[in-house]
Symmetry: C2
C-alpha cells in the first residue's frame, strides 16, 4: 500500500538530503546525436550546483562539452530524483579551489589526486522532479527554469 | 576494502539474476538530437530481450521509435549492469501474446490493463557490462555485438 503523497516541502528536503549525502551516487545521462550515454558517477552539491568529476576524455565529459545537457537521477527507481541540468563550467582539478574542497569533503575520493586529465563539471539544475509511487506523480516538479517552486 | 573481482561466469549469473528478478527496476536512457532522456521503468527479460512497457507517446517510446537506441542500467551505482540495446520490435499491449504473459508474470503490474496507448518495447542487447568497484573495471564486458563472451 502506497503511503500518502509527501508535501512539496518534504520532497524538497528529501532532494537536498540526497544531494548533500556523503557519497551521493548519481546516474548521469548525456547524449550525442541521438545516441544515449549513461554511467554512475559520484556527485556533490555545492552552491546550488551538481558537481561531477570525471576524465575530460570520457563520453560524459565530451557530450557535456559538446552539447551542454545532462539528465541526472539520484535515489532508487521508486524514490526518484530527476534533475535536468546544463553545463555551466568545466574546471581542471588543479584549478578547482573551493569546489575541489567541497567535493572531496562530501565524498570518499578526491578527484584532485586522479591526474591532470580529470575535471569537475558544474551543472546548473533547470528542472528538478521527485516522486516515489504513482500517487506522487502529481506535484513532482519542484524546480522549473532554475527556480525552486517551493 | 573491496572484495576480490568476480569471475566472468559469476558476473553473468548476477546479470541474469537481476534481469529475471521480480520487479526488475531499470534506468532507461534514450536521446533525441543531443538531448538526453532518463526515467526509471520496470523491465522484464524474455527470450534474451529486455522488455519495457510504457505509453507510446512517452519520450522513451518516441526516442526509441525514432532512433532505436537505449542504454539501460540495473542494480546500484556500485553494483552496475549496463546494457546498450537496440529496439527490435514495438508491440501494442493488446497484441502482446507470450511477451505480455511473461512481463505480467515477472512484475507487479500488467501493462495490458493500462490502456490501448501502452506498448511493449523489445530491446536486443548488443553490449552488456557489469562491475562493482574499480577493481572490476577490467573484464566488465560480458556481451559484445549481441554475443555473450562467457
Amino acid at each position: 500500500m502506497a503511503e500518502q503523497p509527501r508535501s512539496p516541502e518534504a520532497r524538497k528536503a528529501d532532494v537536498l538530503a540526497k544531494l548533500h549525502a556523503p557519497v551521493a551516487d548519481a546516474w548521469v545521462a548525456t547524449a550525442d546525436g541521438d545516441e544515449p550515454y549513461l554511467v554512475p558517477l559520484t556527485a556533490a552539491w555545492c552552491e546550488e550546483r551538481v558537481v561531477l568529476a570525471t576524465d575530460a576524455s570520457s563520453p560524459t565529459a565530451r557530450n557535456l562539452t559538446a552539447h551542454g545537457r545532462a539528465r541526472v537521477a539520484l535515489g532508487a527507481t521508486r524514490d526518484v530524483v530527476l534533475i535536468d541540468a546544463t553545463l555551466e563550467k568545466t574546471i581542471p582539478v588543479a584549478d578547482a579551489g573551493e569546489i575541489g574542497e567541497a567535493y572531496a569533503a562530501q565524498n570518499d575520493w578526491d578527484p584532485r589526486t586522479a591526474g591532470d586529465s580529470y575535471v569537475f563539471l558544474l551543472l546548473r539544475p533547470e528542472r528538478i522532479q521527485a516522486w516515489r509511487e504513482v500517487n506522487e506523480l502529481a506535484g513532482r516538479t519542484l524546480m522549473r527554469n532554475g527556480t525552486w517552486l517551493v
